[in-house]
Amino acid sequence: MKKSDRDRIAWPNYIGLGLLAVCYAGALLNVCSIRRAESDHEVIRLVHWQLELGVREGVDDLIRRFEEHQAAKGRRVRVVQIPMPEQSYVQYVTTQLIGGTAPDMIQLGKFPDEYLGRYFLPVSEAVQNPNPFIAAEAAAAPDNDLLAALAQRPWMDTFTDGLRTMFYDRFQEYYGVGFSQFTIRMFYNRTLFEEVLGSPEPPADYRELLEACRRIEEYAAQNNITLHPIASSRYQMEYFKGQYLSGLTRDVAIHYDTNLDGNFGGEEKMMAVLSDRSGPLDPRYRAGLESARRIADYFPRGFMALDRMDSAFAFVQGRAAMITSGSWDARSFMRQIENQPPDRRFEVGIFELPQIAQDDPEFGKYFDGPASEAGTGTGFAFGITRNTKNYDLCVEFLQFATTPENNSLLNDHAAWIPSVTGARMDPVLEVFRPNFIGLWGGMDLRFVARGRCETLESQVFWPYISGEISYDEYATTLMQQLPPEMAQDFRRLYESRDEALPGLRTTRSTFLAATVFGPQDERIANEQKLLRACSSQAVYQRAKWDMRQMIKQTRSELQEKGHTPFSTEFFRHLDRWYETDLEESL
């Protein structure tokens, strides 16, 4: 090779080497600065996946005030926020937890619950004592009776939901606290409503919603513009389906809740189908799906191929008049609409999903009421990992974040619903406040999580919703194919109770040991944990006897009044297993 050729090749190599050196130096500098900060400060890190508008700013503001508060006490504290895209969140969290390098606080969710028992520290003790930061706020506002009362309560009781969804039955512990609450509503283009319908007010009931959709579609056709009544994707359709199907079948749940415990479990749903009290041939069930399908008629053509973000863009760009979404999207929607060119901006309104009126000619006779939101838990919740060196500081941060004042400020940034009693809420968001006036339960074919019947139903639901098949075809297919699948789901549900037992026994054993060998001042707390663990195990064990009792009762009832082809087929498949494996499993 000639010298000049070597030089030509060498130069780009030097550039590459130089770049590598610069990157290495940068990384080194970064590591050094982190190490230095950690030697000067107590550092805690928190990771979350909420990249919606305003959230990071809200957390930054919260961090700034927390650091100032600590500095005023002479403590050098640094809190590092690590926002993470939703797609890579589970991977990141899993790797960090297994590697023992996880941030001190991790947003709960997305990853399996098992992680909590293995990698997180419970906060049960802290949440059962008052939040000292609320006491400080109360002292600064002596006329505020609510604050004074909250200061006396256990921290958990200062949350609007009593922190009930942060209690994990399986581990008998509280594992985190939530900063916000979330509900789903319909967003609509008020400007367009006024222009097309003559009034900016939202539809009062289901019929008015359909009528509004019809007129918007007509308007779009007359003016030859791209405008859909409702922006939607599969994601949004699932919401309509859930709301209307359960709304029209609530009495099924309430009346066939066999053990009267206020929960319409998978086995009870199966018995309702088996004894011909509900299912695809039930007019209430049919009405539930038909009412949802009428709405789907006003979705964009091919909506099933769209994703959630596509439909959101269609709405904010004025190409759709309405969209269902959660309170988490409110700020993003409003900001994106503000960023549109002036002629495309519009005023946004929000309303609860319209209910079916009692005098509705088709569905009114079946409609019992909307779903209760009383059980809405807290979200945007953080747990503390077991590798943290600053557990107490993490608890302090969580307490600081959940005083009425700080919780208001944090949620103001994101336009989210606060999770703490007494926290202020933007009046625009009032419509998102969980509505307790609603009923529980409803019928569907989801007998067991990711069950075979659910899969089968999904295979015929989408062709039905998109108009490829009629309801009769939907129902006939299901009635023909469900029996063996339902027998399988019954078996899976039954066996899942057995499969859970070893884990529950192990959990119980940890509290047995803690009661005997733990510190005396924690004895009562450990006894109560043992009670909860023992109860969990008993609930799973009894559930098997309940299932056997229910199937026995349904069988004898059917023998008396005569089997249907459906029940005959179901028992034919069930008995293959029931008379052999089931008896042996006892």
């Binding site: 028992g117 009593g162 009930r164 209690f167 009267l260 206020g262 929960n263 006894e527």
Partner: protein, 310 residues
């Protein structure tokens, strides 16, 4: 001598000491810390780390009690580690501990765990014998109540089977041996009452079932059990009274209790509608609930009977 040589010498001189460190005996304080660490790791199901801690205490603690506690830990790992457990080895350790004369509550725990191992190994008669010993010898310990609950559930079969009938009869009789429960210290009575109540519910003896559920609700609260269980039980008592016992007074009382004590349950609005229907709650009391979404118009309609539960 260069600094490099110096460093090498220091490392070579101190390395054996570091390697021999685990062989030195632990003080009582160090053993206690190691035991605490072992139980903490056990709680996180990090059985390998727990095993290391317990083994260290077993080999190096000067105290017999601490050694025994460590051996219990090791046996429990063998019993509950689904991956690397060995129940037969656990049984051997438990039996050795009993033969050595382990006493007090640790003995109750050992016997109870031993019984559970026997039951899971298919030797139910031996398990029952061992549980009965725990119940008879340690009536002042919650461990004995746990033994009673386990005994019951291992014997039970179908709700209508003879073995279930016998297990429940024993449960009813043996529970009287324990001190009376209080909401502050309920022990495992809520689990026992829920078991009895469920048994009678499925026998169709609703009065007896309700009585057991009521005893449950007298001692269980959202602190010592859980929010969902308390709400579910209040609802169940109300429904049994309402639908099966034709007792509107009790039904109304429990519907009202449910909406007041567990308003965050999804059934609270339904319970409120029922309480109004049964005249168990008045308009002022409903207003005082301040349920989100409940406005004056809805309250008026509710009391005029225009809104009714399905």
């Amino acid at each position: 001598m260069t600094a490099k040589h110096m460093m090498t010498k220091v490392v070579f001189l101190t390395l054996p000491a570091f390697l021999l460190l685990p062989l030195f005996p632990l003080s009582a304080g160090e053993s206690a810390c190691e035991l605490a660490r072992g139980w903490e790791e056990y709680g996180f199901l990090a059985f390998d780390d727990a095993r290391a801690s317990f083994s260290r205490v077993q080999s190096h603690s000067p105290s017999l009690e601490q050694q025994q506690e460590a051996r219990i830990g090791l046996a429990m790992i063998l019993q509950f580690d689904e991956r690397r457990g060995n129940r037969r080895q656990a049984i051997s350790i438990y039996q050795e501990l009993l033969e050595e004369g382990i006493s007090g509550e640790p003995a109750a725990l050992v016997m109870s765990m031993l019984a559970e191992c026997h039951a899971l190994e298919g030797d139910l008669p031996q398990a029952i014998k061992t549980w009965d010993r725990v119940i008879a010898e340690f009536p002042d310990s919650i461990i004995a109540q746990d033994a009673l609950v386990q005994r019951t559930y291992f014997i039970m079969r179908d709700w209508h089977s003879a073995s279930t009938r016998k297990a429940i009869a024993d449960l009813i009789e043996l529970r009287t041996a324990f001190p009376a429960p209080t909401p502050e210290r309920p022990w495992l009575f809520p689990t026992i009452e829920a078991t009895i109540g469920n048994y009678y519910f499925w026998q169709g003896e609703y009065e007896t079932a309700r009585a057991a559920f009521m005893r449950y609700s007298d001692i269980a609260n959202t602190r010592n059990t859980s929010y969902g269980w308390v709400a579910g039980m209040l609802y169940r008592i109300a429904r049994i009274s309402d639908l099966l016992l034709d007792d509107p007074e009790t039904a109304g009382r429990y519907y009202k209790r449910m909406v007041i004590e567990t308003r965050n349950a999804a059934q609270s609005w339904y319970a409120l509608m029922q309480a109004v229907r049964l005249d168990a709650i008045n308009e002022d009391e409903v207003r005082a609930l301040m349920l989100p979404g409940l406005d004056d118009l809805t309250i008026e309609k509710l009391f005029r009977g225009e809104i009714q539960a399905p």
